[in-house]
């Protein structure tokens, strides 16, 4: 099963990466989601895969045989990771929506107005003007 899981995570990771290499903003977001699935699986397999023995202590005797239970530590890590990545996804979705509404483009390459070094200055100003223009439209 470990091998199967490793291959699955690898494919998830590869598809996630591929999507992150797209220029479309939404595809990048999808890529991010796929990546987080893959990483969660990686974490999950770092504990031994133990069927049918969840880490819920069944009796309260003095000596507890720990070897039988599934490892709780990766589970805790994944649990927080899942919830956090939901927060991340939600924020990213709203950000993309807002960017799409404001600038009106979906192509990542056209979103470079703010972080390009020594591009011709006039094109840069032009872009900024466009953004201003769009913003004032968006507010109406």
């Amino acid at each position: 099963m470990t091998l199967l899981l490793a291959v699955t995570a690898g494919i998830l990771f590869a598809t996630g990466l591929y999507m992150m290499l797209r220029r479309s903003l939404v595809k990048i977001l999808i890529g991010l989601l796929l990546l987080s699935y893959a990483v969660n699986l990686l974490l999950f397999s770092s504990g031994k895969l133990t069927p049918g023995k969840p880490p819920i202590i069944s009796f309260t005797g003095a000596s507890i045989i720990t070897a039988n239970y599934a490892d709780p530590v990766p589970q805790v890590l994944i649990l927080t990771a899942i919830v956090i990545s939901f927060g991340l996804t939600a924020f990213a979705v709203v950000l993309i929506l807002k960017a799409h509404q404001t600038i009106g483009v979906d192509d990542l390459d056209q979103l470079r107005a703010t972080d390009v070094l020594s591009e011709e200055d006039h094109t840069r100003e032009l872009d900024l003007e466009e953004i201003d223009h769009c913003e004032s439209e968006g507010d109406e």
């Binding site: 494919i11 939404v26 969660n40 709780p72 979705v93």
Partner: protein
């Protein structure tokens, strides 16, 4: 001394605020600090040097270790004495300047740093204070930060001295490696050890680099004249009297450690004389009072470095007296030149004339200072110069040395005349149009002339009675040479060879002084031609090229394309991973055979679903299909979790997957379409990169799971979950108890993400939404007219399902500590229940249903979490200790603060989920 250092920094931070209250009295209040230091130092003259140490970072050998010896005292007297005068003078000079408060603060900051430099016994501490003086110098040179040339000069000074001090630090580290200690005293005691070590030449050059940059030695002399961009009181204080002497101080301090070798004895005199002559010649081309003074300062510093290199009995005595004499006369001349500037509006020595009658007090201050600088009887400068010549004569092979000293001193003396005499006594000879407004010229308030007058008075007093300085000079000489040399200080030594050299010097000075108007323009032209070869231009070119290099590599590395960044990161990681695998070798076949066992048929089915969905998700053009595919991946993974003993994970995954799908459904038609933008060759490259990354991930996972070592943490948690935390569900116990702080951080992050969503939606939209809700409340009866066709089944079902889901969520919350469940999954289920209702009715309907805004619920949840976390503090236990009610309670079992914490988590999760989803949905209905 420790007390004064601490007090200085605190005062420096506070004084700008005091200034708003105390106004023009600030200068006097601030000057109380250096005066107090001065009085303290006076008491220390005859007491032996003691070391006070406070341990700071013992593991790094960094101690707060202070030791005041004679050499420290000399500098400390200059720092505190001139500091007090400069504060008073500066208060008048910068009157009405908007940054006057900042000036006081920075001067005090510098003062404390400089006192730290001269009194540190720990080399690392010395380096720290050294850097602080550099930073305060940077801030003070750039004091008029509106002026671009002041900014450039500030940068130049910082970069040149900063580079030097880094070299110095490396030198310190090398000495540490030789001696095994950071204490300067230990270094001094083990000087022989350092001198024989193989590191010695490196140490020498590195420390010399630190000293030469700080004290503006050739070829680093250019930053000091540029530093004159600072207001005059600052130049007088930092860039002539005190800070620039730090380099000289450093060399004198290290004389017992590094001195006495051939390298030391050759390099320092050559460097010193070279600096002296360069400064003297460059000075001729100047006409600005301050620049003239700056070059003479460079020259004087050169002479001091030369003296340290001579290393005979007179040399160190001469050095000490010269440091004092120079501080006194140069400080006075700078302050007077500031007064002249303030009064006439110009510092051009070619224009100024006949100020003697208009500014008598300034003249009284300037004349003794200039005479002292020229080395004329009966001032302290004369005593110093006699000693300098004695030292020169006493050293072997002295002919070249003496001529160099004589030429340099002659030029300096001429400069003294140009600055301190010429403006006062010269008759008018300039053409009318270049004249300054002579009628307005007046003597400033006493704060302008009293400080330089005090300094000049001291020059005269100590000149007439040099014996007054004897105890101080003696202890300083002892501190440097480590020998108790017996000597006397006298004004008149009789007719000695030194006197002859003095006479020659004055003769040369007189000639140069008279020829100024002829020499200045010629020198100016010559040096203008030489400028492209000078170190200043070299520095400029270096800086420009550095910037170009930075821009070039930024263009390469930061292209602005996310794609390229990702490709770079992936390929770099893969590269290093392959490197490591190639180095250590991995038996892939063994890994695979190890991990192939135990496959069940539903494992295969689930992984096939995941793989097919993932690949399809990259191919499809339909947004809805993509979301459905993502959902199927998520639910399949949840099932894997369930099969492999992680029920909590499975529940959370299913809940989150549901909410994610809801989120996407709410916004889907406003998301941009999935156009194919990239070209096929690009896509092929991307596939290769992605496949490499994925392959690496697979190998990594196989490696991780083949590792047989279990974590001791796991056993600990399993063993102690019931005993220490009263919970049988170990995952939940770790979340709310063992690692509660992490969870607390996590829910805070979630809260911030939700607030971020709120902020992105924007305040203007928020208002509109409120208005819309009000309208909708009125329009409820007209729901039939809504533009969306609603099903009847869903609203009816939702109305019954929602309360059930809420009840179930509370059930999950309560049982979470002992069975699968908990605050996270409970909150998510509750939010899903609300959203079901929201989809059936409208998102706004949820808000009408719950009494509080989600924001308020979030705040309450966070408060509960904070309360439960901090409650143990009130009982004297550490933060986050679990407190438990002794008896089990009906339905709930044992209750305690970790459960309360889980309630906080539960509320926050509900709140942020609602905030995110309702806001995303609201925007939908607004479009």
């Amino acid at each position: 001394m420790l007390f004064f250092l601490g007090a200085g920094f605190i005062l420096a931070a506070l004084i700008p605020f005091f200034h708003r209250i105390t106004g023009r009295w600030t200068a006097y209040i601030a000057s109380l600090y250096p005066i107090a230091v001065f009085i303290y130092l006076l008491q220390r003259i005859n007491s032996p040097a003691q070391r006070h140490t406070i341990s700071w970072v013992p593991s790094l050998g960094l101690d707060f270790s202070i030791r005041l010896d004679g050499l420290s005292l000399i500098l400390a007297f200059l720092v505190s004495g001139i500091g007090a005068l400069v504060l008073i003078y500066g208060g008048a000079y910068l009157k009405n300047h908007p940054y006057l408060g900042r000036f006081y603060g920075l001067i005090l900051f510098f003062m404390a740093s400089m006192l730290g430099v001269v009194s540190s016994d720990n080399a690392l501490l010395l380096f720290g204070f050294w850097e602080l003086t550099g930073i305060s110098s940077f801030l003070l040179i750039g004091f008029d930060h509106d002026n671009p040339s002041a900014r450039a000069a500030a940068w130049q000074a910082l970069l040149v001295t900063g580079a030097g001090s880094l070299a110095m630090l490396i030198g310190f580290i090398l000495i540490f490696q030789v001696t095994g200690s950071w204490s300067l005293l230990t270094w001094i005691e083990n000087g022989a050890l350092v001198k024989v070590s193989s590191h010695y030449p490196a140490i020498f050059w590195l420390i010399l680099a630190g000293a030469a940059t700080k004290s503006a030695q050739f070829p680093f002399h250019f930053w000091l004249p540029n530093a004159m961009a600072a207001p005059t009181p600052i130049s007088a204080y930092l860039h002539s009297a005190t800070m620039v002497k730090a380099g000289v101080f450093l060399l004198a301090r290290f004389l017992p450690v590094l001195g006495g070798t051939l390298l030391w004895k050759t390099t320092l005199p050559i460097l010193g004389i070279l600096t002296l002559l360069t400064a003297g010649l460059l000075m001729i081309a100047q006409h600005d009072l301050k620049k003239l003074l700056a070059y003479t300062t460079v020259g004087a510093l050169g002479l001091m470095v030369c003296l340290i290199g001579l290393e005979n009995k007179y040399a160190i005595e001469a050095l000490v007296v010269f440091i004092l004499a120079h501080g006194l006369y140069k400080g006075a001349l700078f302050l007077v030149s500031g007064s002249i500037d303030h009064s006439t509006g110009t510092r051009d020595v070619r224009i100024l004339y006949g100020l003697a009658k208009k500014m008598p007090f300034s003249l009284a201050a300037a004349l003794p200072a200039a005479l002292s600088m020229a080395g004329i009887l009966p001032l302290l400068g004369f005593v110093a110069k006699e000693l300098v010549y004695e030292a020169g004569i006493a050293s072997p092979k002295n002919a070249l040395l003496m001529i160099g000293m004589m030429l340099g001193n002659g030029l300096m003396a001429a400069g003294a005349g140009w600055v301190g005499v010429k403006p006062f006594f010269k008759r008018q000879s300039t053409p009318e149009e270049r004249d300054f407004h002579r009628d307005h010229v007046h003597e400033g308030s006493f704060a302008f002339w009293l400080p330089p007058l005090i300094l000049s008075f001291l020059s005269l007093t100590f000149g007439l009675a040099p014996g007054l300085l004897l105890p101080l000079v003696k202890s300083a000489v002892t501190a440097v040479t480590l020998q108790n040399i017996d000597f006397k200080l006298a004004l008149w030594h009789g007719f000695t060879p030194a006197l002859g050299w003095s006479a020659l010097t004055l003769l040369l000075a007189g000639l140069v002084y008279l020829m100024y108007s002829k020499l200045e323009p010629r020198a100016f032209t010559i040096f203008n031609h030489l400028k492209p070869f000078g170190p200043a231009d070299l520095y400029d070119r270096g800086i420009q090229n550095l910037k170009r290099l930075a821009a070039w590599q930024t263009r390469i590395l930061q292209s602005g394309y996310l794609r390229r960044y990702i490709i770079t990161i992936i390929m770099t990681t893969v590269f290093f991973a392959v490197l490591i695998i190639a180095r250590y070798g991995i038996e892939l076949s063994r890994l695979i055979s190890f991990s192939i066992s135990g496959v069940r048929f539903y494992d295969v089915i689930l992984t096939i679903i995941i793989i097919v969905s993932a690949i399809l998700a990259t191919r499809t053009q339909s947004r809805l299909a993509t979301i459905a595919l993502l959902g199927s991946i998520g639910y399949s993974i949840a099932l894997i979790y369930l099969f492999y003993s992680a029920p909590d994970l499975a529940m959370v995954q299913i809940a989150i997957e549901t909410l994610t799908v809801i989120l996407f459904i709410l916004v889907i038609y406003r998301l941009p379409k999935f156009d194919r933008i990239t070209t096929p060759p690009r896509r092929r490259l991307d596939i290769v990169v992605a496949a490499l990354g994925g392959g690496l991930m697979t190998i990594l996972m196989l490696l991780v799971s083949s590792a047989t070592v279990g974590s001791p943490l796991t056993d600990y948690y399993l063993q102690n979950s019931v005993a220490l935390a009263n919970g049988r569900n170990v995952v939940n116990v770790i979340l709310v108890d063992f690692r509660g702080l992490d969870t607390f951080g996590e829910i805070s992050v979630l809260a911030i993400a939700a607030l971020g969503v709120l902020a992105l939606i924007g305040p203007s939209l928020q208002k509109k939404i409120t208005a819309q809700i009000l309208n909708e409340a009125g329009d409820r009866n007209n729901a039939g007219k809504s533009r969306i066709h609603r099903s009847i089944i869903l609203p009816v079902a939702a109305r019954y399902l929602m309360p059930l889901m809420l009840l179930f969520s509370i059930f999950l919350l309560i049982r979470g500590h002992n069975e699968a469940g908990g605050g996270f999954v409970g909150g998510l289920v509750a939010a899903a229940g609300f959203m079901l209702y929201g989809i059936a009715e409208s998102p706004q309907a949820i808000l009408r249903l719950i009494p509080l805004q989600p924001r308020a619920i979030m705040a309450i949840g966070l408060s509960i979490a904070v309360l439960s976390v901090s409650m143990p503090l009130f009982t004297g236990l550490p933060l986050m200790t679990g407190l438990w009610y002794p008896q089990p309670v009906a339905f709930l079992g044992k209750i305690g603060t970790p459960l309360l914490f889980d309630v906080g988590v539960y509320l926050i999760v509900i709140a942020i989920t609602l905030m995110i989803l309702i806001n995303a949905a609201r925007e939908e209905s607004l479009r």
